[in-house]
Symmetry: D4
Subunit: 214 residues, 8 copies
Amino acid sequence: RRRGYPEAVFCEGKSPAHLRAIATALLERHGGDPAPDVPRTLFTRADAERAQAVLDVLPDALHEPEARLLAWPPTPPEPTGGLVVVACAGTSDLPVAREAELTARFLGRRTELVVDVGVAGLHRILARTETLRAAAAVIVVAGMDGALPGVVAGLVSAPVVAVPTSVGYGAAFEGLAPLLTMLNACAPGVGVVNIDNGYGGGHLAAQIAAPRRD
Amino acid sequence: RRRGYPEAVFCEGKSPAHLRAIATALLERHGGDPAPDVPRTLFTRADAERAQAVLDVLPDALHEPEARLLAWPPTPPEPTGGLVVVACAGTSDLPVAREAELTARFLGRRTELVVDVGVAGLHRILARTETLRAAAAVIVVAGMDGALPGVVAGLVSAPVVAVPTSVGYGAAFEGLAPLLTMLNACAPGVGVVNIDNGYGGGHLAAQIAAPRRD
Amino acid sequence: RRRGYPEAVFCEGKSPAHLRAIATALLERHGGDPAPDVPRTLFTRADAERAQAVLDVLPDALHEPEARLLAWPPTPPEPTGGLVVVACAGTSDLPVAREAELTARFLGRRTELVVDVGVAGLHRILARTETLRAAAAVIVVAGMDGALPGVVAGLVSAPVVAVPTSVGYGAAFEGLAPLLTMLNACAPGVGVVNIDNGYGGGHLAAQIAAPRRD
Amino acid sequence: RRRGYPEAVFCEGKSPAHLRAIATALLERHGGDPAPDVPRTLFTRADAERAQAVLDVLPDALHEPEARLLAWPPTPPEPTGGLVVVACAGTSDLPVAREAELTARFLGRRTELVVDVGVAGLHRILARTETLRAAAAVIVVAGMDGALPGVVAGLVSAPVVAVPTSVGYGAAFEGLAPLLTMLNACAPGVGVVNIDNGYGGGHLAAQIAAPRRD
Amino acid sequence: RRRGYPEAVFCEGKSPAHLRAIATALLERHGGDPAPDVPRTLFTRADAERAQAVLDVLPDALHEPEARLLAWPPTPPEPTGGLVVVACAGTSDLPVAREAELTARFLGRRTELVVDVGVAGLHRILARTETLRAAAAVIVVAGMDGALPGVVAGLVSAPVVAVPTSVGYGAAFEGLAPLLTMLNACAPGVGVVNIDNGYGGGHLAAQIAAPRRD
Amino acid sequence: RRRGYPEAVFCEGKSPAHLRAIATALLERHGGDPAPDVPRTLFTRADAERAQAVLDVLPDALHEPEARLLAWPPTPPEPTGGLVVVACAGTSDLPVAREAELTARFLGRRTELVVDVGVAGLHRILARTETLRAAAAVIVVAGMDGALPGVVAGLVSAPVVAVPTSVGYGAAFEGLAPLLTMLNACAPGVGVVNIDNGYGGGHLAAQIAAPRRD
Amino acid sequence: RRRGYPEAVFCEGKSPAHLRAIATALLERHGGDPAPDVPRTLFTRADAERAQAVLDVLPDALHEPEARLLAWPPTPPEPTGGLVVVACAGTSDLPVAREAELTARFLGRRTELVVDVGVAGLHRILARTETLRAAAAVIVVAGMDGALPGVVAGLVSAPVVAVPTSVGYGAAFEGLAPLLTMLNACAPGVGVVNIDNGYGGGHLAAQIAAPRRD
Amino acid sequence: RRRGYPEAVFCEGKSPAHLRAIATALLERHGGDPAPDVPRTLFTRADAERAQAVLDVLPDALHEPEARLLAWPPTPPEPTGGLVVVACAGTSDLPVAREAELTARFLGRRTELVVDVGVAGLHRILARTETLRAAAAVIVVAGMDGALPGVVAGLVSAPVVAVPTSVGYGAAFEGLAPLLTMLNACAPGVGVVNIDNGYGGGHLAAQIAAPRRD
Ligand SMILES: Nc1ncnc2c1ncn2[C@@H]1O[C@H](COP(=O)(O)O)[C@@H](O)[C@H]1O
Ligand SMILES: Nc1ncnc2c1ncn2[C@@H]1O[C@H](COP(=O)(O)O)[C@@H](O)[C@H]1O
Ligand SMILES: Nc1ncnc2c1ncn2[C@@H]1O[C@H](COP(=O)(O)O)[C@@H](O)[C@H]1O
Ligand SMILES: Nc1ncnc2c1ncn2[C@@H]1O[C@H](COP(=O)(O)O)[C@@H](O)[C@H]1O
Ligand SMILES: [Mg+2]
Ligand SMILES: [Mg+2]
Ligand SMILES: [Mg+2]
Ligand SMILES: [Mg+2]
Ligand SMILES: [Mg+2]
Ligand SMILES: [Mg+2]
Ligand SMILES: [Mg+2]
Ligand SMILES: [Mg+2]
């Protein structure tokens, strides 16, 4: 792949049959016992039925149902570069947060997950300051008011990748509210990706934290 | 006035001549040396020209140009009820914050103003926790990401009146972004008023903090 | 809980298994026969399946299916502070109105429900003026044109908490229309919460009507 | 004119020179002392400069600066059909209300104007019930929350023509808020026209109240 | 009923049990063989299940499944006033058009339905000019581009009631596109109601075409 | 120029000095008496001040103030291909219609302008059917309800290029209403360009009507 | 059909019974073995159930499930005019792209499909330049960022018909994002149709590429 | 400053007097001949009048009028970390692009500016591939269709910071169109900041390209 990163297959619009075909092509290219340096392929946004289609062909693939993600070969590459920390406020945002974390890990970064840090309880965020400051890139996932990335950006000097989610109701307008909040974050240093785009957030953070030779 | 609160004249759509007529009617009703219990009248959103029109007739009116507000008779009533604290992040939100504070004061509350407390610098907010907790109602004024009311609501048990402002640019969409943020605040206890509606925020907070006989 | 109010579990994004785990943790913390001063926990926006998951573990929990709410321990605390009146126009808004009322009651307020008072029949609202004026805080729940809170705010001097609902169709735009109406209410003294946010409206009103020591 | 009603010239996008040419054509067609049954021409949304351009050519034209309207020949036709009542809450909506009233009158209806009847003070509307019920069509003009037409429609059995205005600020979104309110009016019998479209509202009401031979 | 028109029960948010209760109350009030002058009750937006609930109690009610409407007693009153013509472009808009027509008929008007008259085939509209001009009120129902009401308003001098529908896809945005088109109709004399609001359109047209004593 | 068409300079964001520099570069490249086959350059959206800046350097440039357009060398190329007809309803849309027409002419097409053909007066459009049918491409420019392109597309079999304009007010929302109408046109064969984009509409029509060798 | 093109039946809002009736009418008009010059009828947006309804009556109809399209008689007319090329980035946009291609073919054009040419891999588009330049009209179908039509328009001098799709999630807002992108395409020569409107795109391109006699 | 980066003063909402006070405070803190390691202060979004206010007090400040930016002390720090490349399509986006570049430089990065690389002329972008690939972070500034960042992200493996601008008209909706395009960019590795936020884009890129010790 041109830019040195794993290929990702977006499963949402594809039929199980189509996904089985993609998986079969992978299997044929690399064989059932692929070399350790075979590039990883990610299958993102795979519901149970689509995940099963991939597993039919690649039974040893890693499958994280909560993150709706599969990876094959199933082990991430040896990590290089800086640490990627993923933070979110609660269980509702976890699927997107985990998708981001796994993506960053399969792009070759060490990752750490920090949950239960909402802006309505500042002490919980402040208690995790050290972890957040250890990161080369912080991914912050938030729905509803989307205020967390701006607060985190005020605490760290590393770039913050903000991922708005569609969690919430009413005037959250399917993620529009947190998206706007993040674009207007008072602290500089926040880059925003699409609503619910855990994959994109993980990818960008992995690029930011990549080993560099300036 | 039916509900026991001062009358407010919204100056924005009115001509200077019209405002002079309103001021003259007031003067004629109460005389040039009004009794101390004469109900106060507020003139809101008065630009320089409109303020001058009011002052032409009522030269002793209180005029706060930054808040675009006039009051006559110029002294607020003796305060009763609980304290109203008004908080905002910086100088850009001050006109609306001051409009809110003065309105609450002229409705009969003690008020205190807390500025320079943005979410990108949590220590500044935390340093003011005691003041915030002393309030019977907290008004939080914020533009851009509008994250401050939710953070404050997490710190106090009194109701928070959130006033979004049109401060910001681009995806702040003239105050839409902070409005949505506030409606989606993660902490409960936040009631939102219209964008830039310092008058409405001050009025609501004064009602909340009014003396009560349950 | 930090601010002295019950904890609320938002059930919508959570699996039944997850809710059973939360309920089990509660049971383990307080035992099957909890002391009278055990803080109440609310489970909000629980559909039939999620409600059953909670009841599996806490069979004596209060369950109000219309309001999609459960509470445990099942009795509200002894009421203190002022009266909270909840008003709405008809049966369609009742689920949100009841959610608001129960929340206020479990936060420790006396509550009263006033239904069938739409703006298209003013005599019905006017007939309830006395009840509305007895409140320390009035919650007004309305969909479609959302005009009721402004009308009520013109009748009472207590604060009005306005809860827009997604009831309606077409240009109601899932609650956007009543939300905007309420933010633009002609009478001051209206604080708005998120669309369909009965819990938030009840919480805010309970805070407003809380016993106070100014 | 095809449908039997006066021609209207929308002045907003036209240059004074262009308007002078239109006025001159009128003058040439009907002469300086036109017959009583000459069809009236309305010039709508004419600011001072454009009004003067028309008056340069037709000095005896009726000019109502507040309504930004001119009419020539300057007297309305002898009224026929039913009464058109125009209602609004205050001075800010008067320009649109007057534009509506004058349009209806120049289309041949008797008209009456009812001002200062906002929803925040129901007694004022109720005090005018008799006048409202005398109408064959009621035009209700309102900005901000736009709640008045629905309230009036609940009081009368004649059709209500609702004209939203751009009066207000913030979440009024240049008239979007009252427009949506009116489209969602709880009482049936409300037909809505464009924001600030006093001319259109007056025209529709005049058609509704036209003499009829069923 | 206060304004002399039938009551309408909006079925969409109501349970079958609730509708059976409403129907039973009706039956008890008027008996199984109601007098000819008993006021009609309409049940609008009733899907199959809800319609059956009404029919369980009132088996002789008129049921028009396409219009999702029931009426009881099942015969409309003797028509008075002017003719109401309902026009639409095709089969997709028929449910709303029929709901409008039946509402107008049960409010006591003669009605006529004109279908298959889209703006992309002007000759078909022009061929129906005579019928359209016979109306005291024309209801025009249209989705997608919503251009038909403006074209019809240019052909007739009676008022046009425009009903936008959610028919269409993509940039029709659930009826927003035709709604805006109708509000901006080039010809005056168009009053707009809510998207898909056939009931409201029929009601307004019936009021416009009501017998009048000026 | 790569694709064989004239270069266009969008003047709106450029300073007069910058435009003089661009004009000077042109003059230097082609000399003051350019060969007949020198490619034409268009200056679009030039207000008076910017137009003067171009004329300072290229005094013989064609300048059409109404269309805010300049062209140099000032004569269009010898026309080839099919006829481009530009249609609009009235004077307000003329600047955009003329910009479209001149662009098409300077791209080498014969053009014809048809004005005063609104949908509220069908006979006027029908009277021009022959001209419209002679076109290889029809450009239809319309603001407000934007209904004209769909009506024209129903009359001709050539492609229709629809140009929405910001003409109108209120719910026209700066051209959004006609834009949506055109995208939802009932007749197929309509391609839409940006609001007020006369240049783009003229360019596309010229490409459609270009001489072709299939 | 008036304009010489096949009739299209939009199946989405129609019942299977209704479609069977339409198909039966066709069969009766042309017989089971129609003459070669019988005009083709297209059935668009037919899901499995609706397609089967058509096939019940016209078993020899062409059915392309992916494009949700049927055609009868099943063979396209002999091609005339120029080539229509349809381009899209990937499998998700294929249903719309195929609908466009088949429509153009049944309107009488030669067509070619170019897939897998996204803007994130320029070499793939550039590799197809020759094909794109052979077209008399290019249809570009794209969701998400919708950037492809502008890139293609920069490569060819033929008109580009841009079809936005609802492919994507979050801030793609059901196709709004690519729609806006296409309306703002930097290269001139792009005409936009409705979101997911493959039929409309194919129709317009077929008209553009039609044989012409200037 | 907490995070080691220069302070920035947002001038837009501040009065000249206020800015002079800020500048005076700086001067007093650091003296007229500040030490080389004094932290730089940026004044962003300063129009001519506000820039002059700063220069009145700090006459040796760097002032870039096009970027509306001032810096004091006027020389950037010695660069460290990786290269930041700023790319944009043309002169209209230059003010924002230069603001981004200068911000990155004053945060301590080497920078390079690449202009005139629009997506409608791919060869120009491709010709700059080497420069783009030399960057540790690429800032791409674009208005109108906002397609450039996605194209660039497909060419480089470094992170892309996308800055939408309000350049354009009509359906660009003040920058909304390019903002949505960028959030939906097909290539991963794009982080988006607020519309016209050159300062934020420069800041984020400087953080990404900062020297790192993993
Ligand atoms: N700044 C303001 N924002 C919102 N409402 C206001 C404001 N000032 C006054 N009002 C309300 O507007 C009413 C007066 O409006 P008017 O009669 O137009 O001056 C007062 O009774 C207030 O309720
Ligand atoms: N289809 C409808 N669309 C809009 N309003 C309706 C409709 N049907 C009934 N209504 C209105 O809703 C009221 C009854 O509401 P409800 O009490 O909820 O059944 C009636 O008085 C009507 O004014
Ligand atoms: N009025 C216009 N509207 C839209 N695009 C235009 C307009 N005029 C010129 N353009 C395009 O903008 C490009 C030139 O932009 P610029 O280099 O900023 O002058 C031209 O190649 C045209 O494609
Ligand atoms: N052009 C800008 N756009 C967005 N944020 C900015 C800009 N300039 C400064 N800021 C931020 O605004 C803060 C200063 O705001 P203020 O105190 O109002 O001057 C700085 O700390 C920056 O983070
Ligand atoms: Mg930071
Ligand atoms: Mg709190
Ligand atoms: Mg009140
Ligand atoms: Mg009524
Ligand atoms: Mg008419
Ligand atoms: Mg056509
Ligand atoms: Mg091209
Ligand atoms: Mg890349």
